[in-house]
Symmetry: C2
Subunit: 541 residues, 2 copies
């Protein structure tokens, strides 16, 4: 039909130009690897992002080629977000916590043509650079005079020398909004890592959504501290949403200890911070002894893993800071749900509100959710029925980078989580799909079983797994590591479950082990436990 | 590149399905034409929108065909927003304040196939229906038993009978997001009305943007009263943003007097209201004598015309309600700017903040602005230079319905306003492009001149226009209507300007008139004034 709306593509470059124009003097404060504080503005950021874009043009990098970062949260990393993506290349943010072998594999798989790294990661780059022959340019994210003399890395250049001679004017290309802008590898538990490839469209829509009042609630009156790393799913999209709103940005660099984070929050008037529970635990531990207070912080979003209720209470009751759960995945850009109360919840007693706030939250518009049983049949939203959680929407992947894997089921992405959803749309993850125990057509949450076992005073750690059963398909057993010097028998522990869960959910057996196998990040490795117990037989089977 | 994001189109139907699923019991409260209060939920709304979609299918209406509404803000109108657009038809919202001749012209120009109207507008429909032969179905938005027996309108049916027999299940079509979803005619001052045709994409992007913290700040904790009519640029997009956030909605129907609006605000716990200054004036006038207070209202967005500073102060100081200016146009879906303070303004003295809050505001991400002089050269953002205001973005029109008019200038839409923009991006309209006086290459704001003249105690109303001048191209003169019984001479009035504006901006002459010609809405008709003064000659020319 004739006479419609302008066809303006949704592009990353429009975010940075918007910020430079409407929030030119908006502050961006960074603690650098060197420890000092660096300050500049969105206008400066835009100028240097354009210099970087000119640098990449000068290298002859074609549109769609990958430029990698291995860096903490800071202004130069932020410049890469806009200069690399805005000019049509793909920013590949690498997680430095991966094993060097894995990093080399990822760099080669992504076919990165340039790699920019913070000097903290120099030893890592020294270890892997020879294995990454297609990287044409290694760049140290530092001042020219900080470049190490004998790094052993051929052609290593400082970022300042790399972009310094370039013009700060640039005509951003008018790309198709479905062009790729950035990518991030998932640290899958099995097989090689796979990458989610984000588009300009998906990142821009996500930037609108992430700033909404019921999500991160970002405005030009905020001072925002993303503790969540920019190498981890784009720091939950904060860099983009920040440019969209013109909020002040405060980057913590590598200093994530309680003292450093607290000092930054206070010095920069931070109103909103986002991160994982462990960082907040360090922050609270630092503040408590000295009776320290926040002067402006009023809310925090916590994701990555569920926040212990005690921490939610501490933030809210002791410090007046709202704690909101977020849930998402690398494959989801990442935000899927945020846990904010509705109008009708505001008059509820506090403990009722707390029960809601412990859930993963409600879907953001742009994300559809459903839960299904083994047959793919949709389960009711009653807060009790649970099933595999599936999602779809414009910022959720279709397939992995290079078309690897074909994850969708009838157009829906299976999250690998098992969840309930209540009538108000609040989703709660009860287990991982691969860990849930399927007994006689009913599902038993391994996490529920573990939580009950770990409440016993003699138990240090517990892991529940399903083992084959001739009649019920699977039955749960629980592996238990006792506290040093503590004693508890199999029978005592099984009795401990009574009245705490339905009778048919009580494990069939307890197996005492010296230790539950753990991964690098402290998560239980159930695959390894299953391997250890592969010859185990149920007493009743 | 392989492996990207899901290609989910942005569709109006996804908004209502999101609300039904995630905010099923969210309340929608309407004061009806009959005066009573109607209550239901987003789930009910979605079911009835699907019934309406089935009704339109049953009529055999093709995708893209127009269905018109002539209605106040209420739940049935809201059902049309989703049922008509979601099923692929185009909702044409008609302004009932237009002249009946103009309404008939518009209905024919839009080629409306069905027209649904509130019974308040029955006389209007009785007057025009015979002139609109292509309308196949006239529908009264009322219960079956309220349908007038002898309306004289062939085939008139009540809305309830029209949709009542249909299923509340419906498979919304998976449309291209650039498909038209709704349209609205502008009441242009010259020529025939032209229509802006909104798309699913533009309306959905606008729905995200309108809910942002720096825009209308809508969340599931809000109770929202759109006083701004749903026949006027989609009530500033509130129906869509409401579904996106799940906020409670409160529709005032036709009762916009101070008492009715106040009672609704209090009874329904309204936290946010949006409308034009005249409605708020009536509200404040109702509240003041009895010393009435708001219990939950905390903010209001005011648009349509600039809000008098005294009203901003009254809301803020006397009632603790924030007043935010919005600026937009029918051609802009409509939101362009909102006036919210930035972080750095929060510590300013109150009178400094007030100066900022009187401007039209900052651009929302998605709207680009520029100001240009007569040669199209961009003017600086210094808060002083002014020029024609141009905008572009994904929710701004490309051309008018049926391709009429070719408004864009190098891809930018000329707003017809003259504005300044300051270094912080705050835009202030200083005049209409057609009213600004262009003297020797410099522009003189007719509004500034009028404001000075009207500050004189003897002046009832003043209108400034430009008249031809051999040397300066144009020079300003001011037409003045004196207050009854008041006296002031030409010389006294010209002297009154001294020191209040630059010398070269002082009008060359004063012309005393009995009255300034006004339009139906109280706006000065400068075209008519120019006509009256067409034989006028400058004393110095």
């Amino acid at each position: 039909m004739l006479g419609l709306m302008q066809s303006q593509p949704l592009l990353i470059s429009s975010l940075i130009e918007f910020a430079a124009r409407n929030h030119g003097d908006g502050e961006i404060v960074s603690r650098r690897v060197e420890g000092d504080i660096h300050r500049y503005t969105y206008k400066d950021l835009a100028g240097r992002a354009r210099q970087l874009a000119n640098t990449l043009d000068g290298m002859g990098l074609a549109q769609g080629e990958r430029v990698a970062s291995l860096a903490w949260n800071g202004y130069r990393h932020m410049e890469m977000y806009f200069g690399v993506s805005g000019s049509g290349r793909v920013l590949h943010t690498i997680n430095p916590r991966l094993h060097p072998e894995q990093i080399a594999w990822i760099v080669n798989h992504a076919e990165d043509k340039a790699l920019c790294f913070d000097l903290s990661f120099l030893p890592l780059i020294q270890a892997v650079h020879a294995k990454c022959p297609q990287v044409r340019q290694w760049v140290a994210l530092c001042d020219a005079d900080k470049l190490p003399a004998d790094s052993g890395i051929p052609g290593l250049i400082s970022y300042e020398d790399w972009i310094g001679g370039q013009s700060d004017q640039y005509n951003w290309p008018l790309l198709d909004e479905n062009t790729a802008c950035s990518m991030c590898y998932t640290s899958g538990t099995t097989g090689n890592p796979k990458a989610a490839l984000y588009s300009h469209r998906s990142s821009t829509l996500h930037a609108y959504a992430a700033a909404l009042p019921d999500v991160m609630n970002l405005s030009a009156r905020d001072s925002v501290l993303p503790v969540v790393p920019m190498f981890h799913v784009n720091a939950w999209g904060i860099p983009y949403s920040a440019a969209l709103t013109g909020c002040k940005l405060v980057f913590p660099g590598p200093a994530l200890d309680g003292k450093s984070v607290y000092e930054l929050i206070e010095a920069e008037g931070v109103t909103f911070a986002a991160g994982v529970p462990t960082v907040w635990q360090m922050l609270l531990s630092h503040m408590k002894p000295g009776g320290l207070r926040f002067s402006k912080l009023n809310r925090t979003v916590i994701g990555g893993s569920a926040c212990p209720p005690a921490m939610i209470s501490a933030f809210q009751d002791d410090y007046g800071v709202s704690v909101l759960h977020a849930w998402g995945m690398t494959e989801m850009s990442p935000l899927g749900t945020l846990c904010t109360l509705k109008n009708k919840h505001l008059s509820l007693p506090k403990d009722e509100q707390m029960k809601i706030l412990q859930k993963q939250g409600r879907a953001i518009y742009g994300v559809e959710m459903k839960i299904v049983n083994d047959e793919g049949k949709e389960q009711p939203w009653d807060g009790k029925a649970y099933g595999d959680l599936l999602v779809r929407g414009p910022w959720i992947i279709d397939s992995y980078y290079k078309g690897e894997g074909n994850p969708l089921v009838d157009g829906w992405f299976p999250t690998g989580d098992v969840a309930t959803i209540d009538a108000d749309g609040f989703m709660q993850i009860t287990d991982r799909s691969k860990d849930v125990v399927k007994s006689g057509g009913e599902w038993i949450s391994s996490i529920d079983i573990e939580n009950i076992a770990m409440a016993h005073p003699a138990v240090a750690m517990a892991a529940c797994i399903g083992v084959p059963h001739p009649k019920w398909d699977e039955r749960p057993i629980v592996a238990v590591a006792k506290k040093p010097g503590a004693e508890v028998s199999r029978e005592e522990l099984l009795k401990f479950f009574e009245g705490k869960t339905a009778k048919w959910q009580i494990p069939d057996d307890v197996v005492f082990v010296d230790a539950i196998p753990l991964g690098a990040t402290g998560k239980m490795l159930k695959t390894k436990l299953r391997e250890q117990l592969k010859d185990y037989k149920l007493p009743t089977a």
